[in-house]
Amino acid sequence: MPDLLLMENICKSFFGIPVLKNVSFRLRHGEVHVLLGENGAGKSTLIKILSGAYTLDSGKIFLEGREIDMTNYNPQIASRMGIATIYQNFHLVPHLTVAENISLATFPVSRMGFINWPKVRAFAEQALQKVQLQVDPNTKVKNLTMSQQQMLEIAIALVQKAKIIIMDEPTAAISRRETETLFQIIRQIKTQGVGIIYISHKLEEIREIGDTITILRDGEQVGTMTVHEVNMDQVVNLMTGKEIRTDQRIARNLRTQEIFRCVHLSAVGKFDDVSFSARDGEILGLTGLVGAGKTELARAIFGVDHFEQGEIFVRGVRVHHNTPRAMVEAGVGYIPEDRDTSGLCLNRPIRDNITIVSHAKSRNFGLNLRQDNQAAQLFIRRLQIRTDSLERQVKYLSGGNKQKVILAKWFQAQCQFLILDEPTIGIDVGARQEIYRLIHDFVRDEGRGVLFISSDLSEVLNIADRILVMVRGRITAELFPDGLTKQELLTYCLGLRNSSPTG
C-alpha cells in the first residue's frame, strides 16, 4: 500500500529568499505526524503548499501514490482531494447554525431547488457523532466554545471525506481538559486511516499524541524520527539549533568593499573620537555596558542628535547634512531602541508604516494606493508578519511583529546600511530567531551592511562578524567572535582590557 502522502524535495523561495530547501515529508495512513520548528522555520509554508495556498518552486507531491498535478493546484482542488486544514482561527461562519456550517459546501437541495432541511439535519447529526460532539445542530456557531468549534471543524473535515487533516496548533486556545477530548478524537480518527499533520510547540503533547516527528529549521529538514526513539532533549537541540551560530557565519559572504565609515565622531559627554567602518555583507556588532554611549552614538550617526566633530561616509561619499533626512537619502536606516515611541506610527495601518520611508524619499505629489498595497503585501509575506490585513493598525501587533514592520519599512525603501539598536529587547525567544534570520538575509544581498547594537553579549557573539566594544564613550576594542567567550567579552566591556581599534 502506497504512503498516504509523499512530498519530495520541496523548494520554495519568496523573492529570492529560500524558505524551504529540499524538504521531504511522508505521511502514512493512520499516522499522526508532528511538524516541529521555531517560528519561521518553514512549517506553515510547507502546510500552505500542501493546502494549495502557495505554489511550489520545485518538488513533487504524491497522494496515495499518484502524483498531484501542481500546475493548477489550488485550495479548492486540495479540499476536493481530501486535504483539510484546521487553522487556529476557525473558518466557520459564526452567524449560521452548526448544521448549516456542516452542510455549507454541499447544501443538499431538493428537486424544487429548495434546501432540504431534514437532510441537512440528519447529515449534521451524523457528522457530530463522528467527533462525539454533543451540541444541538441548531445552535449558532458563535455560541460554541473554542474547543467545540474546533471539533466542529474536524467533523466537517471528516464528512467531506478528508484523508489528511492538518492541525495548526490546535491546543493553543483550549483548556487542558478539552485537549484530552481532542486527543481522544484524534486517536479515534487515526483508526479510520486518516493521516494527521500536527503542528505544535508543546513537547509534552507531541509525546502523547504523535507517532513521527519531522523537524524543520531555517527551511531545512533537520531530522525525521519516530516519537519513541527520540530524546526530547535532542529535539530541542535540533529545533533551536545550537549550531545556529556557526551556520550563520559560514553562510555569510563577506565582501571587501566598504559600505559605511565614520571618522573621529565626537560629542561632548556622550562619546569621543569614534571611528569605524563596516564592510559590504557584514554584521558589525557594537556592544558595551548600559550607559556606555552606544545609543547616543547611533542617534548621532543617524542625525537624531548632533555631534560636534567628525565625518560620515556612505559608500565613500561624505554625508554632509547630519539629519535623519540626509541619512535616509544616503541609504542608511535606523531602528531605534524604543520601538513604540520613535519607531512606529502606532495607530496607522501596517501598510502606511511599511511604505513611509519610500514615500519620504519620493518626490511625487500623489501616491498610488494599489502599488502601496502590493508593496506592503509583499513584505508582510516575505517577513511573515502575522496579521489578518494590511490595514490593521500597528498597535495591535505583538512586539516581534512590530519589529518586523520596522524592518520591512527599511527593506522596502532599499536601505543599504541598517543601524539596529537593541532590536530584540522585549521580544520573545521565538521571534528573536526570526529577527536574526531577517537581518542575516538582509546582508546576504550585495551592497548591504548592518550595525548591530546590543548589550546582550551572547546575542552579539552569535550574530556579529566583528564586534566593537564601547566603554564610556570610546571604542576600546575590536574583536572577532570566533573563540571569544562571553566572559572575555565582558572583561572588555568592563573596560578592564582593550585592544587597538581600527582607525
Binding site: H201, K202, L203, E204, R207, N231, M232, D233, V236, D272, D273, L289, V290, G291, G399, G426, I427, D428, V429, R472, Q487, L490, T491, L494, G495, L496, R497, N498, S500
Partner: protein, 503 residues
C-alpha cells in the same frame, strides 16, 4: 619601611564608611597602580593624601615621620602632587608661567620683566627636556593638545620638587600613541626617584607600567600584588570580589520557616494568570522565573493591586484584599516595576521627591510636609543605597539607569515596606549597580523583609532566591528550593516543556 606609608586609613561620610582601614605604601622610584571599581574608594584615598579631606582615623607617614594634612597646601609642601583628569592649568598663560605658577613673585604677576621671563622659560625648557618633550615654553597653554597639557602638569609637579605624583586616570583622554609617550615620561620620572601612584581602570596599562598593584574594593584593601607575579584574572577577581564566573553575591541570610508572611491561594488574573499559589516567608527571597510574556509582570502588578485579581491572599495569617496600589502600599507592599521609565520614575521631579513620593504621609504634621524630616530620610537612604548623585534636588532623569533603580528601591524602603515585589529589578542596570542591588536585597531579607523577585534573568534568580517558581503561560509549572534547582530544567519548564530532562 617605604617612603610613603598610609596605615589603617578610615573615612566616613554621613555615617557611611567609604574607607575602612586602608593600607597603602609607596617607595621612591616606584610606580604603584591603584585599582578598583568606581566607588571603591580610590579617589577618597587620594583626596586624603592630598589634604582635601581629613581622615577619621589612621596614620600617614612620610619617610617614617607622621604627618598631618589639614589643607592641600600641607600636602603640597611635602612634595605630593596630584594630576587630575580635569587639568588645572591657566589656558591664557604661557607654558613656562604655568609651570612656575606658585613660585612667581606676585609683583611680576601682571607684567613679567623680560629677563625673568627668559629665565623661567629657560628653566621650563630644561624641565621639559628632562621629560623628553619638545614644547615651546612661551606659547599659551590653550594651544596645546590634551597630552601636552598633561606633560606641563607633570613638569609643574617636578618644578615643585614633587616626590610623589598621583595620576588619576591619565590615559582616559589620550590616544594610543600619546599613551605610549606618557609611559615614556613615567619611566623617566621613575629614574628621577619620583614615586608614582597610578590610578586606572585598565589592566593592560597596569601591566605595562606599574611595579606593584594595590586593589581596593568597597573601601577596603582587596589585595596587594607584585605586577610580575600576578595575572589579570587574579586582579579582576580582587576588584569585583568574585571571579567573573559568578558575578552574583552569596546570600548571607536565611528565611524563617515558621513565619509565613504571605500566602497566595489560587490567584487568577483573567486571561493572564491562572491559579497561582505560593507562600512567602519572613526573610525569604522568592524568585519567580519566566520568559517574556509568561505573566511574571502581570503577577507583580496583580499582587500590587494594579490589575484586577481573584483569589485568596493571606498576610500574616489574615485574609486581605488588594484592589488598588494605594491599598497594597498601606498593607506594606512595595513594587519595583519592570518598566522603570514608564512605570517607575517621574522623570521631571527631583530625586528627593521621587523617593518620598510613596511615603509623604510620614513627614506630615498638621497637614503640612516637614521638609527637614523628608530631607533627612532621603539623605539616609541615598547614603545607605550608595546612590550616586550630585544633589538630591537633581531631576531623576539625569541619573543613570542603575541609580534610578536604586531611587525606586529607596522609595519603598522609605515607606517601610514589609514585602517587596521586584519585577526585573536589574534590567538595564550596569554590572556594578546590579551587584549593589543584590546585596541590598540580601540585607533586606536579613532584616526580615519578604522579597519577591520576578525576573527573566535566570542566573540572577538562581543566585538570589531561597525558593524558585517557574511561570509559563500564566501557570506555575515548577517549584524548586535553592539546592535542587538547575538551570537546564528551569529553562526547559519555562519554555513549555512538561517533564524533567533526562540527565
Amino acid at each position: 619601611m617605604s617612603y610613603l606609608e598610609m596605615q589603617g586609613i578610615i573615612k566616613s561620610f554621613s555615617g557611611v564608611r567609604v574607607l575602612n582601614e586602608v593600607n597603602f605604601s609607596l617607595n621612591r622610584g616606584e610606580v604603584v597602580a591603584l585599582l578598583g571599581q568606581n566607588g571603591a574608594g580610590k579617589s577618597t584615598l587620594i583626596k586624603i593624601l592630598s589634604g582635601y579631606y581629613n581622615k577619621d582615623g589612621g596614620k600617614i607617614l612620610i619617610n617614617g615621620e607622621e604627618v598631618h594634612f589639614h589643607a592641600p597646601s600641607d600636602s603640597l609642601a611635602r612634595g605630593i602632587r596630584v594630576i587630575y583628569q580635569e587639568l588645572e592649568l591657566f589656558p591664557e598663560l604661557s607654558v613656562a608661567e604655568n609651570i612656575f605658577m606658585g613660585d612667581l613673585p606676585t609683583k611680576r604677576f601682571a607684567g613679567i620683566p623680560i629677563r625673568q621671563k627668559e629665565e623661567i622659560e629657560h628653566r621650563a625648557q630644561e624641565l621639559l627636556e628632562l621629560l623628553g618633550e619638545q614644547i615651546d615654553p612661551a606659547i599659551p597653554v590653550k594651544k596645546l593638545s590634551v597630552s601636552e597639557k598633561q606633560v606641563v602638569e607633570i613638569a609643574r609637579a617636578l618644578a615643585k620638587k614633587a616626590n610623589i605624583i598621583v595620576m588619576d586616570e591619565p590615559t582616559a583622554t589620550l590616544s594610543q600613541k600619546e599613551v605610549e609617550k606618557l609611559f615614556g615620561i613615567i619611566r623617566k620620572l621613575r629614574e628621577q626617584d619620583v614615586g608614582i601612584i597610578y590610578i586606572t581602570h585598565r589592566l593592560e596599562e597596569v601591566f605595562t607600567i606599574s611595579n606593584r598593584v594595590v586593589v581596593l574594593r568597597d573601601g577596603k584593601n582587596a589585595g596587594f600584588f607584585d605586577t610580575q607575579d600576578t595575572s589579570w584574572q587574579e586582579l579582576v577577581q580582587a576588584m569585583i570580589g568574585r571571579s567573573l564566573e559568578e558575578l552574583y553575591p552569596r546570600r548571607t541570610s536565611t528565611l524563617r520557616e515558621d513565619r509565613i508572611m504571605l500566602r497566595v491561594d489560587n490567584l487568577d488574573i483573567p486571561g493572564l494568570l491562572e491559579k497561582t499559589s505560593f507562600e512567602l516567608h519572613e526573610g525569604e527571597i522568592l524568585g519567580i522565573f519566566g520568559l517574556v510574556g509568561s505573566g511574571i509582570n502581570e503577577l507583580a502588578l496583580g499582587l500590587f493591586g494594579a490589575l484586577p485579581i481573584r483569589g485568596k491572599i493571606e498576610m500574616n495569617g489574615q485574609t486581605i484584599s488588594i484592589h488598588s496600589p494605594a491599598m497594597a502600599k498601606n498593607l506594606g507592599f512595595g513594587l519595583i516595576p519592570a518598566d522603570r521609565k514608564q512605570e517607575g520614575i517621574i522623570p521631571e521631579l527631583s530625586v528627593m521627591h521621587n523617593i518620598t513620593m510613596a511615603s509623604l504621609n510620614n513627614y506630615k504634621k498638621r497637614g503640612f510636609l516637614r521638609r527637614a524630616d523628608e530631607k533627612t530620610c532621603v539623605c539616609e537612604w541615598v547614603d545607605k543605597l550608595k546612590i550616586r548623585l550630585h544633589s538630591i534636588d537633581q531631576p531623576i532623569k539625569s541619573l543613570s539607569g542603575g541609580n534610578q533603580q536604586k531611587v525606586v528601591l529607596a522609595r519603598w524602603l522609605a515607606t517601610q515596606s514589609k514585602i517587596l515585589i521586584a519585577s526585573e529589578p536589574t534590567q538595564g542596570v550596569d554590572v556594578g549597580t546590579r551587584v549593589d542591588i543584590y546585596n541590598i536585597f540580601d540585607n533586606l531579607a536579613k532584616n526580615g523583609l519578604g522579597i519577591i523577585v520576578l525576573s527573566s534573568d535566570l542566573p540572577e534568580v538562581l543566585a538570589l532566591s531561597d525558593n524558585i517558581l517557574v511561570l509559563e503561560g500564566g501557570n506555575i509549572v515548577g517549584r524548586f528550593t535553592k539546592g535542587e534547582a538547575d538551570e537546564q530544567t528551569i529553562l526547559y519548564l519555562a519554555m513549555g516543556g512538561k517533564e524533567k530532562v533526562a540527565n
